[in-house]
Amino acid sequence: MARAVSSRRKTIVTIVAWVIAFVIFFPILYTVITSLKTEREAIDGISLIPSGTFENYVEVQAQRDYWKPFTNSVIISIGSTLIGLVIAIPAAWAMAFSPTKRTKDILMWMLSTKMMPAVGVLVPLYLLFRDTGLLDTRLGLTIVLTLVNLPIIVWMLYTYFREIPGEILEAARMDGASLMKEIVYVLTPMAVPGIASTLLLNIILAWNESFWTIRLTAANAAPLTAFIASFSSPLGLFWAKLSAASTLAIAPVLIMGWFSQKQLVRGLTFGAVK
């Protein structure tokens, strides 16, 4: 009897959960569907069954050179994340394995730089970039995004490294392993999962960053965020094309995000919720 009640309850909960999930996911689903419609169909009332044309994807490339912002997004997000990792790994390492009294203060201070609102430094950065020729370059944007995400990278790595037991290091040292060997054979295999999660989350954050990427770029270095934002002034019927461009812009990180839910919680709460 109890079993029957609980299974009925499970069915009801399941239905409610699926309905809510559908509503929340609907704007994304509808974007994908609209991208497969003709422009005429796109404004012709709700319909969840598109005629199935891939014309919009072809058009977006032909008319607006979609490939260029896409490449910019890839280069900038991966580039800034890799540079950030190279700078952050030694720092996080040192903090996790030879902590001092000040380690905590340094970590907190790093986090505090993340809280500085972008508009607070928009003016000087814009002028500096203008004067040094970094405005609208992939290099300039990569530098900015590296610095913007560096505190998060250090923090995430730190929370992962902290969990590697120090005794293992000591044991390796007892066995006479040199520092180099210690790093290559003992620590690297244990640190790789943490580094991989950090990489993934930061590529997502850099990919979606929508202040600096829009303000510091124009035609040349504009990544997808700026490219999509340029669709905001409507020129004729364009929803199906906008949907096609949007679908392509969000698909890579959406899929990456699905695989990194757990790391996301950890990374964005600085280890406070696991």
Binding site: G45, V119, G120, P124, L150, S210, V273
Partner: protein, 290 residues
């Protein structure tokens, strides 16, 4: 355990990160502060002079300033209310046994990964558009007049879009926290005859307290800086109805070319964010001591 040698090494390993962040924090901020005391307009770069507190007074007396502060707070508080309450409810729901839980989770978390310009444009054109949007279709189906969201309720529209983006975040964090709650504790409470409501108030809510704090504080940092969603939907209008502080500073700097005024606004934004940050640092800092 740490010898002097390893300590020196540790310092070298930390140096690049610390130095870079130090430069990144101090140089632009010092420049902003400097510019905020200058008469400096990019249209008349030759007329640069010391302005004293003029820029601050100008910014302060601009009616748009107070409206932008009010709008900033409305966005932060509105989105927080929706996402925290909604997040708790959704987390409680998803913590139950469900068929296809993995897929439901994936669907619900998805909006968080949508870049802000896409989220805003999809909502603006396909969901909230008074002529062709889904909401308009539903209104007509119910025999009601469609609402012109961005003209009639610009701020509310932005709050809805931003809340859609952040609800998944709150849900995911709260669900993770909920799942770490001891199953036995819940069962024991149930056996003692505690009802669902008292179980929620006395066991679940206290357990979620830290996660809720973290959600509130992290969201606040991002919500204070909402920008792209405003840019592509209302562009701050009508008038200043949906201009927040971040957007006002951008407008002053890059549309009016008023470097001095924008810098003063930037300084105010930094001060505001720091007040909030102070609380966040405390909460996260406590957690480090564990």
């Amino acid at each position: 355990m740490a010898t002097r040698q390893t300590r020196t090494l540790a310092r070298f390993m930390m140096a690049p990160s610390v130095v870079l962040l130090l430069i990144w924090m101090i140089v632009p901020l010092a420049m902003t502060l400097w510019f905020s005391f200058q008469n400096y307009n990019l249209l008349m770069p030759a007329n640069r002079s010391f302005a004293g507190f003029f820029n601050y007074i100008y910014f302060y007396t601009d009616p748009a300033f107070f409206q932008s502060i009010a709008n900033t707070l409305a966005i932060v508080l509105g989105v927080l209310a929706i996402t925290v309450i909604g997040g708790i409810l959704l987390a409680l729901l998803l913590d139950q046994p469900i068929f296809g839980q993995g897929i439901v989770r994936i669907l619900i978390i998805s909006p968080f990964f949508v870049m802000p310009p896409v989220a805003a444009l999809v909502w603006k054109n396909m969901i909230m558009h008074p002529g062709y949007g889904v909401f308009a279709d539903i209104s007509r189906f119910l025999g009601l007049r469609p609402i012109d969201w961005f003209a009639q309720y610009p701020l509310l529209s932005i709050i809805i879009i931003v809340a859609w983006q952040w609800l998944p975040f709150a849900t995911l964090i709260l669900l993770t926290a909920l799942q770490s709650l001891d199953e036995e504790q819940k069962e024991a409470a149930e056996m003692d005859g505690a009802g669902a409501v008292s179980r929620f108030i006395y066991i679940i809510l206290p357990h979620l307290a830290r996660a809720i704090t973290v959600v509130i504080l992290i969201e606040t940092i991002f919500l204070l800086a909402v920008y792209a969603e405003i840019l592509v939907t209302t562009n701050g209008g009508p008038g200043y109805a949906s201009t927040n502080l971040a957007f006002l500073v951008y407008r002053t700097a890059l549309l009016s070319y008023d470097i001095g005024g924008a810098s003063a606004g930037g300084v105010i934004a930094v001060v505001l964010a720091n007040i909030v940050a102070l609380f966040l640092m405390r909460a996260v800092g406590k957690n480090l001591d564990r």
